[in-house]
Subunit: 801 residues, 2 copies
């Protein structure tokens, strides 16, 4: 029955997948699902530098000083991203802790008189918070729903999803996650914080939000997707660092899980951002210690210190730990599969019916969660407190209004506590802290843990995919630590040793579930170490992660990959598929006709070409001196649209524009060609041209990318894939084999020493003296015989400099 | 004076650099220095898969099962590398600790009677150990000298240095570093352990050492440089993990500092190797606890636990910490510059004179070190012990034969200790532990620390580059922690607060010096955290590293980069140089004539071409049906040499080999073309051909790489660089612009779903239904019209399958 459903889920998912939004030439109407349901559409990013005339112009005007300025701005932005994300995290945490604090203290006060009134208040409080969250998300920022990590992963892989990095998404994410987490749903604020960090970074990257008039021309330094991508990477790391107070973990998360390209320099800047976040959060928490932040302070912000726990382990314990790993892999894979199924069902049926359904759904889930978390502990018989241990500071039952273990709930006698309420009727942070706690052997009964596991697992699966900001880290840790502690209880009973702590097993359980679901390795390991502040358990966490990831991988892909697929985000994995070895580039590109443009194109022709297809890049073909054709570059749709809209480059003659009229072109600077992040950009429908305009011509030579990467037609697709993926390309030309080889480039040709004076003429390759002499000759001869495109562009350049 | 010398040093370095070993077309005899002095020569590695006929043959014979088998072997090898490196580290540590233990206990026993006799014994003991080390290195394994990290970095960047990964180098490294570290020189065993790990990995990668008959055909699974490179990356991480007992630090070191290419999958395997190392080391240390390992156990293996130290810090302390960062940057940069100067002087003058000079040099350095470390504490007046603190377990003076603070040395009265001997007359591990120690305020006088700093810095600079295995981590930590503790003393005196520990400042000093010298960031930070077992200082370590690296970068490059340059290892940085924006591919390749081969080449012609130049790759040009020329691929020199040596592919006719004689070619399997790691391979001088042979022909088509990457002639060098660097290429063809575009490849064309049954015919691209239908047609038509090279290869393929 279940497996049948799973099969269906997979089928549905595959169907959705096969109808992947088709940016290149697909008919958008035929895609349906992912377009209609939330209006999302994906478009590839241009990580490649478009070395067109405007870009060269820009480069030529800028000296070394500008490079230094740009680097300085990058670091300054990294600083700002760190501060911004840190403050956002502090704000979210203070708000959530205060809402939760008011809720629980009020409820505890009222249930002293009436459990029913307390229950109603509890349900209502949660409902209001969740309602505010889902309202913000559905009405104001639809892209803020969910965790956002798959989308950010997609962005850093080279696909821009509409709306994902807007300013409104940022606002929706912050306030939405306060509502959803404060409202006690089975979700966390960690995923949303990553998205928040990325949004902040992206806003800096494009110099503020243009829509809300928060932008400044001065800040618009980064005019290509590549620099923006680096900033977003910093933002991701800052988000994780802020969410878990795990700076190193944040860096590793950004590198391992999110980015697709990686450089040492970037690592250094990402690291800096994380360090800033750590300082900001620490300062804010120091400020809160003096009581400025209400309920926040005693329980807030992760770090579940287990340094008082188990320090050592025996080899006998490795078996139960391995079992935890296996359980984590199985439950994690099941979680991925169930959420995939439910999300695809939601997308296909439920969420199609509009925002009202989404709101009702979230409210129902909130009421259900409240009923279960309040009601189940009521059914549970209280346990007498263990004998007080004078060396331990743990009270039983805990004093009212405090955080801690041994919650007294619906107990008749005084030295009693309700073990189910200790984990269920609590904020998730406190529940985890209780599950991780050492020196509290036999605090929980197996029955309570099992009940909680089943109930919470179900709630987490059901909550996943509702229209509120939702992270999966904290629910994962909750689930994992529950069965971990369960295993730990058996181990304690079986081995009868004193130094085994149930809390340690809870920690390993948490690691195993996250490993089994998200399939991260190094970063997760470091995050677990940082949040528990205990390095000694590192090898054990490693072991458990290895097992749980391996087990999970046997069933399905990681949570984020599965969700990205479902959302139609075409992630390119780092490794080419096996089948690609047997395919050639020509086969992959299909035998559909390539739509190309002439160098001097008639406006009417351009418009009709843009209307007739959805291609985003067009080869430009020119006739060279000898009469044969020559591919002179690639023209992007978005750039064509900019040209059509501005009209200033239109000319009457179908000949290359004459020299000495360059004053015109100077109006086009590189900035105009930059597409705003996450926006749909111009469309051909937005452009209205008179009949006079349509009869004009445009010389495309100054605007095209003169050297897109090319591959010979019979290159194996594996190699093409590597080229595309490693360099983050958007278009590759498949061309016939060359007729001759002009030169060979090897490592030595690329070993150029940077000269102190920075002048081009003095560039001299480091090589043997014989070759160096030859090279000098070459440099001068190269200046005489201009390269091809320089010849094409000669008119323009001579008119300027 | 000094700056003048520095200038000279830089000049010399630049000279050496400009005479960089020239694998492509340089005359080796003209290079001199780096060739003659240690016989080293560099050659680029082939990370690109050569998709020639033999490779395709190999691939075709192998199914999915082989892929699984290969993955399993990779993991199994990762396990073996972990175990091997862990055991090597344990062996080195046990040996060093025992030698040092004997040395110090004997000396302490004898100095009770006579300081002169003790001194002589001490000098002799050290001298013997160093002599054994330098003898092993010079006579047996010259590539084992130095740290080996620059060479490994070069290997992973794509340059193979002769001898660097031999079995004899491994042996030399292990025994050599026991001698040099045990002999008390100012160097560490951490760098050599990284090299050891890499050697072990490489030996697994090529299936054992062929020279020493330790190889097994069964193990030779990895037949390309790419898989071997991944294993070597694992080995590096294992080395660091074993050296510092820092598994996460090891992974990060391998990723940040050593590798040039990085993939998530690799991270996972590297992580596994590190975890294995941690387990092996832990098991071995558990076994040693029962007293099986002599002196090893109490003091051995890093982890200088400072968890008892400072837990918190105030904002006032940030200023002295920033000062530590600046000092670290300055001293680190100076260290790099001085070592660069001394190493280049050694290479140019001293080491040219042969092995005897190297041996004498090392012995002199050993005697000097012994005299300073024994003599200086003698001159120092002893200090009375501080009043005993009952809560502290630190004894003063320490009991004889123990490790710890407060060493009694040349003191007349009993409750006295010699603070200079505490750090100088000790193993470096113990000295660092003493410098890091908390609760020992005012143990050291400023005068002693300053003396030690100057003396040890000088010794470290002088020792660097002598012909013994030498790491720079431990000396760096020694230097850094000395001035760190010095600053800490002033801070303690100035702020007069109780919770400030000098040991914390010593740790920050250590981090700052390593940051200023090696310029690592995240990995160094994690290593420092792991070796001190204290997460709370993470933000402070980050701060100090940021400052010291920034300061150091203002002066010169990192230690390993500088050394790599000096050794003529052409490392390609991840970022192209600024000047490259203004150069084109054609300019970079030079206008020297490209030497190309015809498809059917006469043996005599091939031999004369191979003799007349040093190129490692040759384009192969054929005449297509229409009569025009066509570049059909790239032929490697090493492959040509294999063909010439085996002679079995010679044919009499200058026409493509006829069908139905394929039985011949089957004798060439892919393995024969694989070049052993670090070896020079075949040379044209090794091949002797009779006059009959010279008149024969070879059809090169089955052996060439049919699709090397190509770039158009006027592509900017920045883009070419990115292509070369990101994909780890060895040759790029510069070709004329294409005349037409056959197809365009975009992201969607690469989104291929892997089919369950794995059959090629069922491969279907995930796209809209319209396109998918087109594609089906395409697949069949593609089978009819064979791509170009398949046509060329038709004879062979039809003869086989």
């Amino acid at each position: 029955m279940l497996s049948n459903h799973l099969q269906n889920g997979m089928e549905t998912a595959r169907l959705v997948w096969s109808r992947l939004p088709n940016t290149e030439d697909g008919e958008f109407d035929a895609i349906g699902i992912s377009k209609k349901s939330d209006g999302s559409s994906v478009e590839s990013l241009d990580y490649e530098v478009i070395e067109n005339y405007a870009y060269r112009e820009e480069q030529a005007q800028r000296g070394k000083l500008f490079v230094i300025y740009q680097v300085a701005v990058k670091w300054f932005f990294a600083l700002l991203i760190g501060i911004g994300t840190g403050l956002a995290a502090v704000f979210i945490n203070i708000s959530v802790e205060n809402f939760a604090g008011w809720k629980f203290s009020l409820t505890f006060a009222i249930i002293q008189k009436s459990y029913l009134a307390g229950f109603l208040l509890y349900v209502l409080f949660n409902l209001l918070l969740v309602l505010s969250s889902v309202y913000i998300v559905t009405q104001f920022a639809p892209a803020a729903a969910g965790s956002g990590i798959p989308e950010i992963k997609g962005y850093l892989n080279g696909v821009d999803i509409h709306g994902i990095l807007f300013f409104r998404t940022l606002i929706g994410k912050i306030f939405g996650s306060i509502g959803s987490v404060g409202g006690g749903l089975a979700l966390g604020k960690e995923g949303p914080l990553v998205h928040t960090g990325a949004c902040i970074a992206s806003l800096f990257g494009q110099g503020g939000s243009t829509k809300y008039h928060l932008s400044s021309r001065w800040l618009q330094v980064f005019k290509n997707d590549r620099d923006r991508r680096d900033l977003v990477t910093c933002g991701c790391a800052a988000g994780v660092a802020a969410a878990f107070r795990a700076p190193v973990g944040g860096v590793l998360f950004a590198l391992e899980e999110v980015t697709s390209w990686w450089r040492s320099q970037l690592m250094w800047r990402v690291f800096f951002t994380s360090a800033i976040v750590a300082v900001v959060v620490r300062t804010a928490m120091g400020w809160c210690k003096s009581g400025n932040c209400g309920h926040f302070g005693s329980g807030g912000f992760i770090i579940w210190d287990i340094s008082g726990g188990q320090e050592d382990y025996s080899f006998q314990e490795l078996l139960p730990m391995a079992i935890i790993g296996v359980i984590g892999g199985l439950l994690g894979a099941l979680f991925n599969q169930l959420t995939l199924y439910i999300t695809s069902w939601r997308r296909n049926y439920l969420h199609k019916k509009g925002n009202r359904v989404k709101i009702i759904e979230a409210c129902l889930i909130s009421i259900l969660t409240s009923i279960i978390s309040f009601g189940l502990p009521l059914l549970r018989k209280c346990t007498p407190c263990p004998e007080a241990d004078p060396s331990s500071s743990i009270e039983c039952p805990r004093s009212p209004g405090m955080y801690g273990n041994y919650v007294k709930f619906y107990c008749s006698k005084d030295p009693e506590y309700n073990d189910l309420a200790t984990i269920f009727f609590n904020t998730q942070d406190d529940a985890i802290r209780n599950l991780f706690s050492a020196k509290t052997v036999h605090e929980f009964s197996a029955q309570s843990l099992l009940t909680f596991l089943v109930m919470f697992y179900t709630l987490a699966v059901v909550t996943f995919g509702s229209a509120v900001p939702a992270g999966q880290f904290i629910p994962g840790i909750m689930i994992g630590s529950t069965y971990g502690r369960l295993v730990g209880m058996f181990v304690v009973n079986f081995y009868q040793k004193l130094n085994i702590e149930e809390g340690t097993y809870a920690l390993l359980g948490a690691a195993s579930f996250l490993g089994g679901s998200m399939r991260m390795t190094v970063s997760l390991c470091v995050i677990m170490v940082e949040i528990t502040n205990n390095l000694k358990l590192l090898p054990l966490i490693m072991l458990v992660l290895l097992i749980s990831k391996a087990v999970g991988d046997a069933f399905n892909e990681g949570l984020y990959e599965e969700q990205a697929r479902l959302r139609g985000i075409p992630l390119l994995e780092s490794r080419p598929k096996y089948e690609m070895r047997k395919m050639t580039a020509k086969e992959a590109s299909g035998n559909q006709k390539v739509v190309s443009l002439p160098r001097i194109a008639k406006v009417a022709d351009i418009v009709s070409i843009l209307r007739s297809n959805k291609h985003n890049g067009f080869p430009v073909i020119d006739h060279a001196r000898g009469g044969e054709t020559l591919v002179i570059g690639l023209m992007l749709r978005s750039h064509l649209l900019v040209l059509l809209q501005s009209k200033i480059d239109f000319q009457h003659s179908p000949l290359p524009s004459e020299p000495r009229v360059g004053a015109r072109q100077i109006m086009h600077n590189f900035t105009e060609f930059v597409k705003p992040v996450s926006s749909r950009g111009l469309s051909i429908e937005d452009i209205h041209l008179g009949s006079d305009d349509l009869e004009m011509y445009i010389d495309l030579a100054p605007f095209l990318n003169p050297s897109p990467y090319v591959v010979p037609e019979d290159m194996s697709l594996t190699k093409v894939y590597n080229l595309f993926r490693q360099l983050g390309l958007r278009h590759i030309f498949v061309v016939p084999r060359a007729s001759r080889v002009i030169g060979l480039i090897t490592r030595k040709d690329l070993m150029i020493e940077e000269q102190e004076n920075g002048e081009l003429d003095n560039v001299e390759l480091q090589s043997t003296s014989v070759r160096a002499r030859r090279r000098d000759k070459r440099m001068t001869s190269a200046e005489v015989e201009d390269p091809l495109l320089n010849g094409l562009l000669q008119n323009h350049s001579s008119s300027r400099s």
